[in-house]
């Protein structure tokens, strides 16, 4: 139905052969900016909210180790729910179609990886470092924020990077919940190669850009990791 609208934009030469059409792409790239921006919103909101939840759970589980197994179990189960099923359930719920129904599954899928990485990172802090910190008079809170979290940072950022790249990919399905994003563009003209190529390439570029951004953030926040013997 919407396909016909787009078909009439195609010039007879390249588009009718359904090839990769640079001039078509050039003229229509602007149409992708709004879905791309929505894709960014979906990803950033999902990762930020997911991070806050998973990080909080990890801090609780760090002091109460017995919680790690149940939390890993629950977040693991969430991870195995097919995303389409989850979108469908949320759409039929009172939430209906829209951004919220699209972003909730994305949030849920980030929990497992971020939680696991934060817990592993915190647990990886050497015992003698912890002992020295306590012995010098740090409270549990100071130990956590001044020593454990900074030292776990590389592991934590690694988790956020994987979660982000995964979310960019998964967000292409959020249109099922009416949340828009690049998936919406792909779906509206799924048989037209130029369309798929542009939307796909933008998703890939977005994933790379966000990944590099996080990598740069880690480099800035953890300069000690690059320090080498001189």
């Amino acid at each position: 139905m919407i396909g016909s609208v787009i078909i009439h934009h195609r010039s007879p030469t390249c588009e009718s052969r359904n090839g990769l059409c640079p001039s078509w792409i050039w003229h229509h790239i602007g149409d992708y900016m709004s879905p791309l921006w929505r894709h960014v919103e979906l990803t950033v909101v999902a990762v930020v909210v997911g991070f806050v939840i998973a990080f909080g759970l990890a801090l609780v589980a760090h002091r109460r180790r017995w919680l790690i197994t149940p939390i890993t179990g629950v977040t693991g189960v969430l991870f195995t729910i097919p995303s389409l099923a989850l979108f469908a359930v949320l759409v039929t719920s009172p939430l209906g179609f829209g951004f919220v129904s699209g972003v909730i599954p994305l949030i849920l899928y980030t929990l497992q990886i971020i939680f696991r990485n934060v817990v592993t990172g915190l647990a990886g802090v050497p015992e003698e470092t912890r002992d020295a910190a306590r012995g010098m008079g740090m409270t549990d809170r100071q130990l956590l924020w001044r020593v454990e979290v900074p030292l776990a940072l590389p592991e934590i950022v690694a988790g956020v990077r994987i979660a982000t790249v995964t979310t960019v990919a998964l967000a292409t399905l959020a249109f099922f919940a009416g949340a828009g994003g690049l998936g919406d563009k792909i779906n509206t003209d799924i048989d037209f190669k130029s369309n798929i190529a542009v939307a796909g390439a933008l998703a890939v570029l977005l994933a790379i850009a966000l990944d590099l951004l996080l990598l740069g953030m880690e480099r800035t926040l953890a300069p000690w990791r690059r320090a080498r013997a001189t």
Binding site: T129, R130, G135, M136, W224, A229, T230
Partner: protein
């Protein structure tokens, strides 16, 4: 804060639930202000436990420990620890902090500002024989010996009246170890702290200790005295065996030179003719 504190163990005891015997059993001894007290004994004798009860890294189950007459049990553990220097064998420098930040860790907890910490770090680096340019390095960029020195500098950064050291030179090679011991004694001449120094090495104990407390399995104190007292009059067979036969003998070689040998006849050195002439007029 006083330069050095008097430390008094009064029947300090640590009993772990379910254990056959106490880890530390009624330890009673006094370390005078400004003295180095070495806790010496085989592994499992409770010496580290005894040391860690002082800053409440381990809570004693009975008895008391007094710092300048005040029970450590009545202090908030974190506040108490900030007043007590702490150096451990694995050092435990913070890998994500520069040397300066590591040294400034306790002063920062006590509310000192950056400028104060910068000056103090420079002063301490010089005091422990390190170049001031190391202040901006990370621990991974230091050698083992440098790390040990930073560990000591960090422990005394807030000028604590008491210093706890758990085999602080245990992880370095013998040559560096000897050097660190000598340097620490020179440093101690200047700072005159009360020090509790844990080791299992009798040689180190004799070198470092103003007094040595020898402990044995079950957390018992067997003998407490100066190195001379312990070497001269071992309290029992355990002490005698633990310190080994440290008697030295003079042997004359075929060439007429005099040699000092240990109990097993291994040569330790020669005696110069000058020394002989001076000793035997």
């Amino acid at each position: 804060m006083p330069e050095a504190a008097t430390l008094e163990f009064r029947g300090a005891t640590k009993r772990y639930p379910g254990a056959d015997h106490a880890a530390v059993d009624g330890l009673t001894l006094t370390v005078e202000a400004g003295e180095i007290c070495v806790l010496l004994g085989p592994s499992g004798c409770g010496k580290t436990t005894a040391m860690r009860m002082v800053n409440r890294m381990i809570e004693m189950t009975d008895g008391d420990i007094l710092l300048d007459g005040h029970s450590v049990r009545e202090r908030n553990p974190a506040d108490l620890r900030r007043e007590i220097g702490y150096a451990i064998q694995q050092i435990g420098l913070f890998p994500h902090q520069t040397v300066e930040e590591n040294i400034g860790a306790v002063p920062k907890l006590l509310g000192r500002d950056r400028a104060w910490i910068r000056n103090r770090a420079a002063e301490l680096l010089e005091l422990v024989g390190l170049d001031a340019s190391l202040a901006a390095r990370y621990p991974t960029q230091l050698s083992g010996g440098q790390r040990q020195r930073v560990g000591v500098a960090r422990a005394i950064a807030a000028n604590p009246p008491l210093l706890l050291m758990d085999e602080p030179f245990g992880a370095v090679d013998p040559i560096n170890r000897g050097r660190l011991q000598t340097e620490f004694l020179r440093l101690q001449e200047e700072i005159r702290k009360t020090v509790v120094f844990v080791t299992h090495d009798i040689g180190e104990a004799i070198t470092m200790g103003d007094r040595i407390a020898i402990m044995r399995e079950g957390g018992h104190l067997v003998q407490y005295g100066t190195p001379a007292e312990i070497l001269g009059a071992p309290a029992d067979d355990f002490v005698r065996e633990f310190i080994g036969d440290r008697a030295l003998h003079i042997q004359s070689g075929e060439d007429g030179a005099l040699r000092v040998v240990d109990a097993k006849g291994r040569p330790l050195g020669t005696i110069s003719q000058d020394a002989v002439r001076r000793a035997l007029p």
